[in-house]
């Protein structure tokens, strides 16, 4: 299977702290891949490296054969990588529809001068953009909510709107940072189905950061485990569940003797208790 994104020996430092340490990483085309790891393992930092938010110190990242680690975030988006955020970052004072319209920015080409004269070209372009935004809104099940301000939407709707906005950039690779955070089991199930749908219907590769083990194990085709910035394991969900290094990273050395099969449940229990 063709590889859409490759990271080679990526190192990212913050002062003396090595947040991402020499990570090699591949995403096969049209696959669903997850990154897991304890808090502070460098997952989100790695995300930021891919999307150009933070420049990497060493190594290289290439997307469909193009080296992207020196590009600006907007250029990387242009190539076809889009993302959502761990703590939802919609444009709160803009309507849902406008949020999506901003996502379409790349595909609209009218200059400000033609906008001032409201040329026919601008009008048709805006009309098409609006229709596309409506379509995306319906796709994420937010029909009729287009005129609501983003911050007035319920939590789950905000998550979905953020995905719709990311989809508006027509990505080939979608990065989802803890999409199920704060969701109840029912919503989580819907989300899992929705992520599958995005991949199957739109053919978009998906990279996921997730704490919710049920989601990760259910959805991922491959999992990469980070701990203290280093990749400690990689493989199918089955392989990861029985990997002693992973169990150790999550639960400490003593726990590695117990099976991961129920360990991850214990983990999510303790997580739901703490937060």
């Amino acid at each position: 299977m063709a590889v859409i994104l490759t990271a080679k020996k990526v190192i990212k430092r913050f002062g003396g702290l090595v947040a991402v340490n020499s990570v090699d990483f591949d995403i096969p085309e049209k696959s669903i891949v997850s990154i897991i790891g304890p808090n502070g393992a460098g997952k989100t930092t790695f995300f930021n490296c891919i999307t150009g938010f933070g420049k990497i110190d060493e190594g290289e990242i290439s997307f469909e054969g193009t080296k992207i680690h020196r590009l600006r975030p907007d250029q990387i988006t242009h190539l076809g990588i889009s993302r959502t955020y761990q703590n939802i970052r919609l444009f709160p004072d803009m309507t849902a529809l406008e949020n999506i319209l901003v996502g379409q920015h790349l595909f609209l080409h009218s200059s400000w001068i033609s906008a001032v004269f409201n040329t026919p070209g601008v009008r048709t372009e805006e009309k098409m953009a609006l229709a596309e935004a409506q379509r995306l809104l319906n796709y994420v099940d937010l029909k009729g909510k287009g005129d609501m301000l983003a911050r007035n939407l319920p939590y789950g709707a905000q998550r979905r709107l953020e995905i719709a906005r990311a989809l508006a950039t027509k990505p080939k690779l979608l990065l989802l940072d803890e999409p199920s955070a704060g969701m109840n089991p029912r919503e989580t199930e819907d989300l899992t189905a929705f992520i599958h749908r995005i991949r199957d219907e739109l053919g978009i590769s998906i990279l996921l950061i997730e704490h919710h083990m049920r989601v990760v194990m259910g959805i991922s085709e491959r999992i990469t485990v980070l701990d203290y910035g280093e990749k400690i394991a990689e493989g199918t969900p089955k392989e990861i569940q029985s990997n002693p290094r992973v169990i150790e990273a999550y639960l400490g050395r003593g726990a590695s003797t117990a099976g991961m099969a129920n360990a991850h449940e214990r983990f999510s229990e303790s997580k739901s208790k703490s937060g």
Partner: protein, 587 residues
């Protein structure tokens, strides 16, 4: 029960004390004395009396509001007691202040605590009359409470009527002058309604009654009227709109002829500030980039036109105004980009400080001796050619204006058209920009710069465009300002101009085009018209800003309403829910 009563009394007294202190403050800064030279209603109540009364009335309103529990039904008696008590307390505080001032010479500290102030406050009767204050205070407090207790249906028209009558009273001198210059009948009506500095009693009554009845009629019939309008066929609707528009346009066109140069000049200044406001609204309101040195672009526009058209010694070229203006706008845009480039990565407070520095640098350079050979230094550039519609005579020699064969925009009455037309044009452009792809990109940057970039928005390009277009608008304002004044001095490009522009945007409504216009009228137009009270201009600004932040942080004419008009695709219900929700969230 006893506890409750104590609580009520305490609230009332606290409110009264506070408003009393405010009243004393207004006395001690000299406002009451200065304002007492103006009438609100001729021979009955002066502006000074009015503001003192207003403190007691608002004490009544506040006390009544504080003692009414929204969950229980209204308890008028309780509210009335509280209101009256608050009013009495206000009166007692003022009376105590007068009594105290008879014993101690306050003037050694407070310059405005002059004998004439106390003559005014004591009705020239020493301490004989100060018992009146608690009585008047009680009456005023009760009035406030009654206003509060009135059902919404009556309260709104009455408060509106008080407000509008008060505004008319403030500007009655202007109306009087305008009307007296018209035909006999209008002149008579003018004299009947408007006094020299305030309304006549009959005028006040007529306006009050008129506003109350119109307002009540409107609130009862507005939906019917709107439905009636919707029932008219489409052609008829456009017809009505065209007629209304034509009437408005005619009024705008005729205004300077009727009103004389003073009002024309005020409107020109309001338009110029509106131009700057519209410019800053792009950088600050749309893109969220706080620029405290905005006057720099105004200066660039002004100096460009000055240098290009002046017949004085600093005139470089002697082109006409019409050639100079586009150049000035372009030069301002270049400056916008030039100043924008180094601060691209600077955010928030740091950006404000950096741009503030730029503004000062431009002013200091323009006024410096170092660059005096080019910009005239402290002497400024004088002898700026007025715009001329028609052919402009040849340039003869320095200090001789060129002769205009045609219509010359010589004074405020003519430049009015230039300024108002520019403001309307720029407002239109700003509206179009706001609704464009670029406008959305700016708003995205304002809301969250990182996310905007991650969605494919080129930050450098988009931010620079915001600086450039904002600068262009301000540059146009500067260009018109130069020909209005006929000269430029670096000293008129003070930091305070930038701060005024920021204030008018905040008061009008950040990111709202009509808001900028409303803000310019409220913050620039009103104080400009009330020249007598311009001493307290900055007090007025400060109070207006604080009150806006507390009561209506979204501004007088917020932009959300216009934003939502963009997309009508969904059902009306949904958008209504959204708008009420957003207003709730803001409240």
């Amino acid at each position: 029960m006893m506890m409750k009563k104590d609580y009520l009394i305490w609230i009332a007294i606290k409110t009264g004390l506070l408003s009393g202190v405010i009243a004393i403050f207004l006395c001690l800064i000299g406002m009451v004395e200065v304002f007492s030279k103006r009438d609100v209603i001729e021979k009955i109540i002066t502006l000074g009396d009015f503001i003192l009364l207003a403190t007691a009335v608002s004490a009544g309103v506040i006390a009544a509001r504080a003692t009414s529990n929204p969950e229980q039904q209204k308890q008028p008696l309780k509210n009335l007691i509280a209101g009256a008590l608050a009013g009495i307390t206000t009166g007692v505080v003022i009376a105590a202040f007068i009594g105290l001032s008879q014993q101690i010479n306050l003037r050694s500290v407070f310059l405005s605590a002059s004998p004439s102030l106390f003559d005014l406050l004591t009705f020239k009767g020493g301490t004989n009359w100060i018992w009146m204050y608690p009585a008047i205070g009680m009456a005023a407090g009760l009035l406030g409470t009654i206003l509060f207790l009135l059902p919404e249906k009556f309260r709104q028209p009455i408060t509106r009527a008080i407000f509008i009558t008060f505004l008319l009273a403030l500007f009655s001198g202007l109306f009087r002058v305008v009307m007296i210059n018209q035909s006999d009948n209008i002149a008579k009506a003018g004299k009947y309604l408007f006094g020299q500095t305030g309304l006549t009693l009959s005028g006040a009554i007529i306006f009050f009654v008129a506003v109350v009845s119109i307002s009540m009629f409107w609130s009862a019939e507005s939906t019917n009227l709107q439905k009636g309008f919707a029932r008219i066929p489409k052609k008829g609707q456009t017809g009505v709109r065209v007629v209304v528009f034509a009437i408005l346009a005619y009024m705008v066109l005729m205004l300077p002829q009727v009103s004389g140069p003073f009002i024309a000049q005020v409107i020109v200044i309001v338009s110029l500030y509106a131009l700057m406001g519209l410019g800053l609204n792009i950088t600050l309101g749309f893109a969220g980039l706080l620029d405290l040195g905005f006057v720099a672009f105004f200066a660039v526009g002004a100096y460009t036109v000055g240098l290009l058209t002046s017949y004085g010694i600093f005139g470089l070229q002697h082109v006409s105004f019409w050639v100079a203006v586009p150049i000035a706008v372009l030069v301002s845009m270049m400056f916008g980009a030039f100043l924008g480039l180094p601060v691209l990565g600077v955010r928030g407070d740091y950006l404000a400080i950096a741009t503030l520095g730029f503004g000062e640098i431009v002013r200091l350079l323009a006024g410096s001796d170092f660059l005096a050979p080019f910009f005239g230094g402290p002497q400024g550039i004088i002898g700026i050619q007025k715009p001329c519609l028609g052919t402009l005579g040849e340039f003869v020699r320095v200090d001789v204006p060129r002769i205009c064969n045609g219509l010359e925009f010589a004074g405020p009455k003519e430049i009015y058209y230039l300024a108002v037309a520019s403001a309307i044009l720029i407002a239109f452009i700003a509206l179009r920009l706001q609704r464009s792809r670029l406008g959305r990109a700016w708003m995205a940057i304002r809301e969250d710069e990182d996310v905007a970039e991650a969605l494919g928005i080129n930050l450098i390009q988009t931010k620079l465009l915001a600086y450039m277009l904002g600068a262009a608008f301000a540059g146009l304002g500067g260009a018109i300002f130069t020909v209005l004044v006929g000269s430029i001095f670096a000293t008129s490009m003070q930091l305070i101009v930038s701060i005024n522009v920021v204030s008018l945007i905040i008061v009008g409504g950040m990111g709202s085009v009509p808001g900028v216009i409303v803000g310019a009228i409220a913050l620039i137009g009103l104080p400009e018209l009330l020249r007598e009270v311009s001493e307290y201009r900055f007090l007025f600004y400060g109070a207006a800003l604080i009150m806006m932040m507390l009561a209506k942080p979204e501004g007088l004419w917020p932009s959300q309403a216009t934003l939502r008009e963009l997309h009508h695709d969904d059902s009306g219900e949904d958008s209504e829910i959204a708008s009420t929700k957003s207003s709730q969230a803001k409240a």
